[in-house]
Symmetry: C2
Subunit: 195 residues, 2 copies
């Protein structure tokens, strides 16, 4: 009946995600998106509506990927400590992965306050909530396994670990050397060992 698309929507989303991830929503222009995706701007609008809805699709993709990564890493760990360790190490590797822009689109979007509507803010908050919940569950399993004492403040420590991962990303964005991030990682693990 009609002409077919000559691009893969997922490929375009990945390319656009890469751009937003690098510069944030506001600083990524339609010109950037045209170059980065290889699509004409009218094709982008035809396929995705407008810049904002394209961004939301990318953000949803990103949030889903990170959540899946977190679930997979913590699920594969043999102990609570190993789960936390592997998650922190992943956060460091994640930033320095050369195939990736570095930093974190969700943190970037959280800081771009006035650019985003409630729906976007909710997606951002959902990743932080998910991270906190998963880490808390990991710690609670550690308590059950005897890795941590009975009165261990799983909720609080999960919040602290979640905050620390965001802080490590900020450090990395401020050009902190890998060694500084690794030092933070070791200190967190040691504080966790302390009780």
């Amino acid at each position: 009946m009609a002409r077919t698309r000559n691009f893969d929507e997922n490929q375009i989303l990945e390319a656009a995600l890469h751009l937003f991830w690098e510069k944030g929503y506001a600083a990524t222009s339609l010109h950037d998106l045209e170059k980065g995706t290889g699509l004409n701007r009218a094709s982008i609008y035809n396929a995705f509506g407008n810049k904002r809805s394209l961004f939301k699709r990318c953000l949803a993709l990103y949030v889903g990927q990170v959540k899946a990564m977190l679930d997979s890493i913590t699920g594969a760990a043999a102990s609570s400590r190993e789960a936390v360790k592997n998650w922190l190490l992943f956060v460091i590797d994640f930033h320095f992965n050369p195939e990736t822009p570095g930093g974190c689109l969700v943190i970037l979007s959280a800081l771009e306050r006035y650019q985003h509507d409630q729906e976007t803010k909710e997606m951002v908050a959902s990743l932080f909530r998910h991270e906190r919940k998963v880490v808390q569950r990991v710690l609670e399993e550690g308590v059950q396994r005897g890795e941590f004492p009975a009165g261990f403040d799983c909720a609080g420590v999960a919040g602290a670990i979640t905050a620390t991962t965001s802080g490590m990303v900020v450090m990395a964005m401020a050009d902190a050397p890998v060694s500084a991030l690794q030092e933070v990682f070791r200190a967190v693990m040691r504080l966790l060992d302390g009780k």
Copy 2:
């Protein structure tokens, strides 16, 4: 000999700082600066050069204020634990202070990667370095005082605390409730007590 300025440079800097602090460098337009400072854009250029150099003056002002606040808070504390406690509580209050935009200009600027030159990045990095150094000194004094054991990893823990403060600011920017930040604060203090 000539006409005098009819504005106070420091007042203008404070007003501009407030704007940059709210939206970041790129999202703050000259129109915003005109409205926020009450100055015509040509007057701004006459007094401060251009948008970038005005921003740098504001950033320097901000960095100096935060450093002074950190020094004052830690200097006034009677113990190492109290110093850390008061600094973390200040970070929370700082965000929810109604006279202030909330968030942190330095973190915001660290995330605005492609907007800034080396000089700006250096100012950003200098605040993080300063914070880490001060907290480390505070912990080392705690070791001397017997608050922490001899082998205590002051450098690592100082890095972790610094990362956590940045993470708390990110959490707050993502609309986390005060209670969540306070929970992180309590967990950090308890982890510190654990050893």
